[in-house]
């Protein structure tokens, strides 16, 4: 006990109010998870709203969902899960003291994150051009509705009653709120990772101390998990209305 205390105390990142580096690490890991749980409940609130309204306004939500681009959504899912892999590899580089691996994979993670945001910007642009943004200029034309009704009549479901424009606006409000909040988290994440790149290049991290890298990783993976749920809920779960049973 006394030995580990004195040896650990040599590390510049060691805080005096902890007994050992290991105790400091466990306390900060716990703190990071408590923060992530507040984030889970924050996004959980929006997911709850989405589930309630999807249940009530099924047809309108299906009509709105069918206008989203599955190809771009799938591409972004692959990009974001890929960025989680590169983030895990960056943490591995920190754990094993490979500075080049740490810096390289942090930069790759940032680039993949930026790719995701770029694709998201393209999708948002489409939505603005099609007047699918809720507000005074919202338009959900007869073209989209005819397309939807042709597909919906093929589905022998009692859930299809009709599409109300106000309800479709609600779908798009939730689409922009949820993907927008997710994108904001990614922008913050990219900022955090950029600081880590700078610090890692200056040799601030070692196998004895790389907590900021580890916790930035936890945050990045959390943001990935939010998208893992957003993608099927927004893009996928009503695609089958156009398919014969």
């Amino acid at each position: 006990m006394q030995d580990s205390h004195t040896t650990a105390a040599h590390h510049p990142a060691f805080q005096h109010h902890f007994e050992t580096m290991e105790q400091q690490r466990q306390a900060s890991t716990l703190g990071m998870w408590l923060f992530l749980i507040t984030e889970i409940l924050f996004f959980g609130g929006m997911f709850t709203v989405y589930l309630v309204y999807r249940n009530w306004y099924f047809a309108s939500f299906a009509a709105g969902s069918l206008t989203l681009d599955v190809t771009l959504g799938t591409f972004n899912t692959v990009v974001l899960i890929g960025s989680s892999l590169t983030m895990a590899l960056a943490v591995h580089g920190a754990e094993t003291g490979k500075r080049g691996m740490l810096v390289g994979f942090l930069i790759l993670t940032i680039l993949l994150g930026a790719t995701f945001l770029g694709v998201k910007a393209v999708e948002y642009t489409h939505k603005f051009e099609e007047h699918h943004v809720p507000g005074p200029s919202f338009r959900f034309g007869s073209e989209e509705l005819r397309h939807f009704h042709e597909e919906a009549t093929m589905l022998r479901s009692t859930q299809i009653h009709g599409v109300e424009l106000g309800e479709v606006q609600l779908f798009f409000s939730l689409y922009f709120a949820m993907t927008g909040m997710h994108a904001l988290h990614m922008i913050i994440g990219i900022g955090v990772l950029s600081v880590l790149v700078w610090k890692a290049r200056h040799g601030r991290y070692s196998p004895e101390y790389f907590a900021p890298v580890e916790y930035a990783g936890l945050y990045w993976h959390f943001v990935d998990i939010v998208w893992i749920f957003l993608f099927p809920l927004l893009y996928l779960i009503t695609r089958h209305v156009g398919v014969h049973p």
Binding site: M21, E22, R25, Q26, T29, L30, W33, L34, L36, I37, I40, L41, G44, G45, F47, T48, L51, V52, N55, W56, V70, T74, T77, V78, I81, G82, S84, L85, M87, A88, L89, H92, E95, T96, L155, S157, P207, E208, Y209, E214, G217, L218, H221, F222, D224, I225, I228, F229, F231, P232, L233, L236, I237, T238, R239, H240, V241, V243, H244, P245
Partner: protein, 98 residues
């Protein structure tokens, strides 16, 4: 540091599994399973999330205290979802005699 260093091949295996599950969920979305489409999509999403949490986020190798905190967090999320939905999904049921 007594942290567990996860072998690189574990990360690659998890990534490959996540890619396969992504392909499956997109493919299945275009097959009409009626009410089971939503169940399959959310089931696959939950599986992917658990893989990310256990391996990429190192929870599998974490302390018992970390496990308790995470499970408590998801338990609260469960309360939020379940208790809210018990209200909203039963509102369309016929009124029972009082």
């Amino acid at each position: 540091m007594s942290g567990h260093v996860v072998p690189l091949k574990v990360y690659f295996a998890i990534f490959a599994t996540l890619m396969v599950l992504t392909a499956v969920t997109v493919r299945v979305a275009f097959i009409n399973l009626g009410p089971f489409n939503a169940a399959v999509a959310l089931g696959i999403a939950t599986t992917k999330a658990v893989l990310v949490i256990l391996y990429f986020m190192h929870v599998r190798y974490g302390s018992k205290l970390t496990w308790v905190v995470i499970l408590a967090g998801f338990f609260w999320l469960g309360i939020l979802l379940a208790l809210t939905m018990t209200d909203y999904i039963t509102r369309s049921l016929p009124h029972l005699p009082t």
